[in-house]
C-alpha cells in the first residue's frame, strides 16, 4: 500500500484533486501501468490493430445493444414486428440495428484476424499461455453470444438455425434429450427459448465476456506484448530498466491505433450505409420471413462465421467414423511403440484406444460430429503446449512451416465455404479431408513443429523508422 502523500497547499487545483484521488484509488498508477509506462515493442505491424479493434467492436455492440433492448420485445408473437418497428419507427433505429448486425460479423472478422496474428507470431508461447487461454475463452463466449443473439430477430433462419444447433445436444448419449429440453425450455424452439436466449444475450454472456476481456488485458500487461519477431524485448533494457525496443503505449500506440480505427470504420460504415445485408451474408434474406415452426426450410446454413465448424460437423458421417478409427489405431500404435514412456502408460494408451474405438462404434456418428465440432474450438486452448518449435515467430520458422500455415488458412476458408453450400457427395469428401487436416495440423504439431531448420533469430527487433 502506498504511503499517504501530502502536496503543497499552493499546488494547482487539478494537481490537488488528482493527489486526493491517488491517495484513495490507484488512478495515476493504473494510467502509468497500462498506458504511459506500458512498454510495447516498436515493431508492431498492421495485424496488431485487431486487438484494439476487437475492443472497439465490443463497445459498439454493447452501446447499440442497450438501445436495441429499449425497443425490442423478447416475445415470439412480437419479436419480428419489434425489429421492423426499430427499422422504421424508432428514430435512427435502422442505424443502430445495422451497426449491431454488421458489428456481429465485424466482431468475428477482427477476432479471427487477432487469433491469426497470435497463431503466426507465436503469441501463445511461454510466458503468454494465460493470455491465449483467456482469449480462447473469449472466443467461446463470443460464439455463444452470437448464436443466441441470432435467434432474437425471430426470422426463419433464426428459428431453424437455433432448432438445428440445439437439437445437436440431444445426440449426447443418456443426458442429450433432457439437456436439449433444458436449453430450449420447451419441446421445440419457442417463446421460452427466445426469452432465455434474450437473457443470456443481453446480460449473462456479456458479463462473462467483459470479465474475460479484463483478465485478457491484465494478463497481457503483466507479461508484455509479443511482436512479429517473437523476441522478448525485456531481454535488453536501458539504465532505467526500460526495454530498449519498447515504446510507451501512450502516446505512440494510441495515435497509431486511431489510424487503424479510422481504417476499420471506413470499411465498417461503408457496409452499414451501402450494403448492410452484405449480399445475404450479414443479414440473411430469408430472415426477413417471420419464424414459422410449421415450415422447415430445405437447407439451413449457419451464419458465415460458424460455417467452418458446421462443415466439420457435417463431415462426420458413418463412413468417416472408420477413417477416424484408423487414425485412433495409428495413434495408439505409434504411442505404444515409439514413445519413450513406461510400459504401464503404454498399456493405458492401448486400453484407452480400445475403449475409444468401442465407443466410436457404439455411439451414433451424429454425436461424434458434435464432439468434432466442439473439439475444433477446444483444441485451440491447447496450442501453447502443442507447439514445440524452437522459435516463436513464423519469420524464423523453417520456410515449409509457412506453407503449412498457408494451407491451414486456405483449408479453414474452404471448410467455411463448404459450410454454406448444400450437402453433396464431393463437398462431403472435401470437408472430410479438410477436417482431418484441421485436426492433424494441431494434434501432430508436437511432432512437425520440431522438424526442419529454424532461421537465426536476431538479438533485437527488426524496425524501420517511419
Amino acid at each position: 500500500m502506498a504511503d499517504f502523500k501530502e502536496i503543497s497547499p499552493n499546488a494547482p487545483l487539478a494537481e490537488k484533486a488528482l493527489n486526493w484521488v491517488d491517495n484513495r484509488f490507484p488512478l495515476s498508477k493504473l494510467y502509468k501501468e497500462h498506458l504511459s509506462e506500458y512498454y510495447a515493442p516498436k515493431n508492431f505491424n498492421f495485424l496488431y490493430f485487431f486487438g484494439v479493434l476487437s475492443m472497439l467492436v465490443l463497445v459498439i455492440q454493447i452501446l447499440t445493444g442497450i438501445f436495441l433492448t429499449m425497443h425490442y420485445k423478447p416475445d415470439a408473437a412480437l419479436a419480428f414486428a419489434s425489429v421492423e418497428y426499430i427499422m422504421r419507427d424508432v428514430p435512427w433505429g435502422w442505424l443502430i440495428r445495422y451497426m449491431h448486425s454488421t458489428g456481429a460479423s465485424a466482431f468475428f472478422v477482427v477476432v479471427y484476424m487477432h487469433m491469426f496474428r497470435g497463431l503466426i507470431y507465436g503469441s501463445y508461447r511461454k510466458p503468454r499461455e494465460l493470455v491465449w487461454l483467456f482469449g480462447c475463452a473469449i472466443f467461446l463466449a463470443l460464439m455463444g453470444e452470437a448464436f443466441m443473439g441470432y435467434l432474437l430477430p425471430w426470422g426463419q433462419m433464426s428459428y431453424w438455425g437455433a432448432q438445428v444447433i440445439v437439437n445437436l445436444f440431444s445426440a449426447i448419449p443418456f443426458i442429450g434429450p433432457d439437456l436439449a429440453l433444458l436449453i430450449r425450455g420447451d419441446y421445440v424452439v419457442g417463446d421460452a427459448t427466445l426469452n432465455r436466449f434474450f437473457a443470456f444475450h443481453v446480460i449473462a454472456v456479456p458479463l462473462v465476456l467483459l470479465g474475460l476481456v479484463v483478465a485478457h488485458i491484465i494478463a497481457l500487461h503483466e507479461v508484455g506484448s509479443n511482436n512479429p519477431d517473437g523476441i522478448e524485448i525485456k531481454a535488453h533494457k536501458d539504465a532505467n530498466g526500460k526495454p530498449l525496443d519498447g515504446i510507451p503505449f501512450h502516446p505512440y500506440y494510441t495515435v497509431h491505433d486511431i489510424m487503424g480505427v479510422m481504417g476499420f470504420l471506413l470499411v465498417f460504415t461503408a457496409i452499414i450505409f451501402f450494403a448492410p445485408e452484405f449480399g445475404g451474408y450479414f443479414l440473411e434474406y430469408n430472415n426477413f420471413i417471420p419464424a414459422d415452426p410449421l415450415k422447415t426450410p430445405l437447407h439451413i446454413a449457419p451464419v458465415w462465421y460458424f460455417t467452418p465448424y458446421y462443415s466439420m460437423l457435417r463431415a462426420i458421417t458413418n463412413e468417416m467414423m472408420y477413417a477416424l478409427i484408423v487414425c485412433v489405431i495409428a495413434a495408439a500404435y505409434l504411442g505404444a511403440t515409439r514413445a519413450a514412456i513406461s510400459s504401464i502408460l503404454k498399456a493405458a494408451i492401448i486400453g484407452g484406444a480400445l475403449l475409444l474405438m468401442g465407443l466410436m462404434l457404439a455411439i451414433d456418428a451424429k454425436f461424434w460430429g458434435v464432439v468434432v465440432m466442439g473439439g475444433s474450438v477446444i483444441i485451440l486452448f491447447f496450442l501453447p503446449w502443442l507447439d514445440h518449435c524452437e522459435v516463436k515467430s513464423i519469420r524464423f520458422k523453417p520456410t515449409w512451416h509457412t506453407y503449412l500455415y498457408a494451407v491451414f488458412v486456405i483449408n479453414f476458408f474452404v471448410l467455411g465455404y463448404l459450410g454454406i453450400k448444400p450437402p453433396s457427395q464431393i463437398n462431403e469428401r472435401i470437408s472430410q479431408v479438410g477436417t482431418l487436416f484441421y485436426f492433424g495440423f494441431f494434434l501432430l504439431m508436437p511432432w512437425w513443429s520440431r522438424l526442419g531448420e529454424t532461421k537465426p533469430v536476431p538479438d533485437r527487433v527488426n524496425f524501420v523508422a517511419h
Binding site: 516498436k42 414486428a81 421492423e84 418497428y85 427499422m87 422504421r88 419507427d89 435502422w94 442505424l95 445495422y98 426463419q156 515504446i247 502516446p251 505512440y252 495515435v255 497509431h256 486511431i258 489510424m259 480505427v261 479510422m262 481504417g263 470504420l265 471506413l266 460504415t269 461503408a270 452499414i272 450505409f273 451501402f274 448492410p276 445485408e277 445475404g280 451474408y281 440473411e284 434474406y285 430469408n286 430472415n287 426477413f288 420471413i289 417471420p290 414459422d292 410449421l294 415450415k295 422447415t296 426450410p297 430445405l298 437447407h299 446454413a301 454454406i420 453450400k421 448444400p422 524496425f463 523508422a465 517511419h466
Partner: protein, 251 residues
C-alpha cells in the same frame, strides 16, 4: 449460398400452396426507380389498389408515404380504404379463415417481401418484377392461373385486367437425349387495358415501391453514408499525419 436461398424460398413459398415447385425461369432485371418519386407514388397507388385487399403490409404506416412526396391529405383522400387514421399500419380486412378456404393459406405480409425474396439470380425486386409479369391461363388450376416464375402459385393474376391474358410458347429441344420444352416467348391471347410496354412500366413502379417499402430509410441511409465516409477520409488523413508526427522520433 444462392442455391440454399433459392430452395429455401421455394420451400417457404410453396409450403402454403398445395403443390411442389418444379422449375422456374431466369429473373428479369427490374428497372431501378428507387429515387423516382413519381414512380414510387404510382407504385404505392397500384399497391394499395391491387395488393392491399388480400395482403397486409402490417409494419408499414400510411403516413410514411410522406417520404415519397405525398401529403397526409393526399394519402387520406386517395389511399386509405381499410382505416381512417393516417398513422395506422397497412392492415388487411380479409378474414384469415376465409383466406385459408380461398387460397389454401394466408397471403404473406408484403412489408419486407422484397428483401426476403433476394437471392437466386437477382434482387427481390427482380424476382417480383419477373413474377408479376409471367402469369398465364391454366385451367387445370383452381384459380385458373399459373406462373412461370412461381409454378403452381396460389395467387390468381390480380393484374390481369391491365395485362390481358397471355400464353407461354415453347420450343421442343433436345437435351441429354430427352425432348424438353424450352420457354420461347409470349403470345397475347386477349388484350389488356395497358400495352405490354405500359404494363412492364406499371409493374416496375409497383416493384420499386415494394422495394422502397421494405426499407423506407434506404435512400436516407445512402445519402448519410456518403457524408460519413467523407468525414472519415478527412479524419483518417489527420490521424495519419498525427501518427507520423509522433513516430518520427522513434528510430
Amino acid at each position: 449460398m444462392k442455391k440454399i436461398i433459392l430452395s429455401l424460398l421455394i420451400s417457404v413459398f410453396t409450403s402454403w400452396s398445395a403443390f411442389a415447385a418444379t422449375d422456374t425461369i431466369p429473373w428479369d432485371k427490374a428497372p431501378n426507380k428507387i429515387n423516382d418519386l413519381g414512380a414510387l407514388q404510382h407504385g404505392a397507388k397500384l399497391f394499395v389498389n391491387y395488393c392491399l385487399n388480400c395482403h397486409a403490409a402490417s409494419y408499414m404506416r400510411f403516413n410514411r408515404l410522406t417520404d415519397i412526396g405525398l401529403t397526409e391529405q393526399q394519402i387520406k383522400d386517395n389511399l386509405l380504404f381499410t382505416t381512417d387514421k393516417v398513422g395506422e399500419t397497412m392492415k388487411v380486412s380479409m378474414d384469415p379463415k376465409q383466406a385459408k378456404d380461398w387460397f389454401g393459406g394466408n397471403p404473406p405480409d408484403l412489408t419486407v417481401i422484397a428483401r426476403s425474396r433476394s437471392g437466386h439470380g437477382g434482387t427481390g425486386a427482380d424476382y417480383l418484377y419477373t413474377y408479376l409479369r409471367t402469369y398465364y391461363r391454366d385451367e387445370s388450376k383452381a384459380t385458373g392461373w399459373n406462373n412461370l416464375a412461381f409454378p403452381n402459385v396460389a395467387m390468381p393474376h390480380v393484374l390481369w385486367e391491365l395485362q390481358g391474358e397471355r400464353k407461354p410458347l415453347y420450343d421442343t429441344v433436345q437435351s441429354h437425349g430427352h425432348e424438353v420444352h424450352a420457354f420461347k416467348g409470349w403470345q397475347q391471347v386477349t388484350p389488356g387495358k395497358l400495352s405490354p410496354a405500359e404494363y412492364d412500366e406499371a409493374v416496375a413502379d409497383l416493384v420499386n415501391y415494394m422495394q422502397w417499402m421494405s426499407e423506407p430509410s434506404q435512400n436516407t441511409r445512402v445519402i448519410i453514408g456518403v457524408w460519413v465516409l467523407m468525414f472519415l477520409l478527412v479524419f483518417m488523413f489527420i490521424a495519419w499525419r498525427l501518427n507520423a508526427a509522433f513516430w518520427k522520433e522513434i528510430r
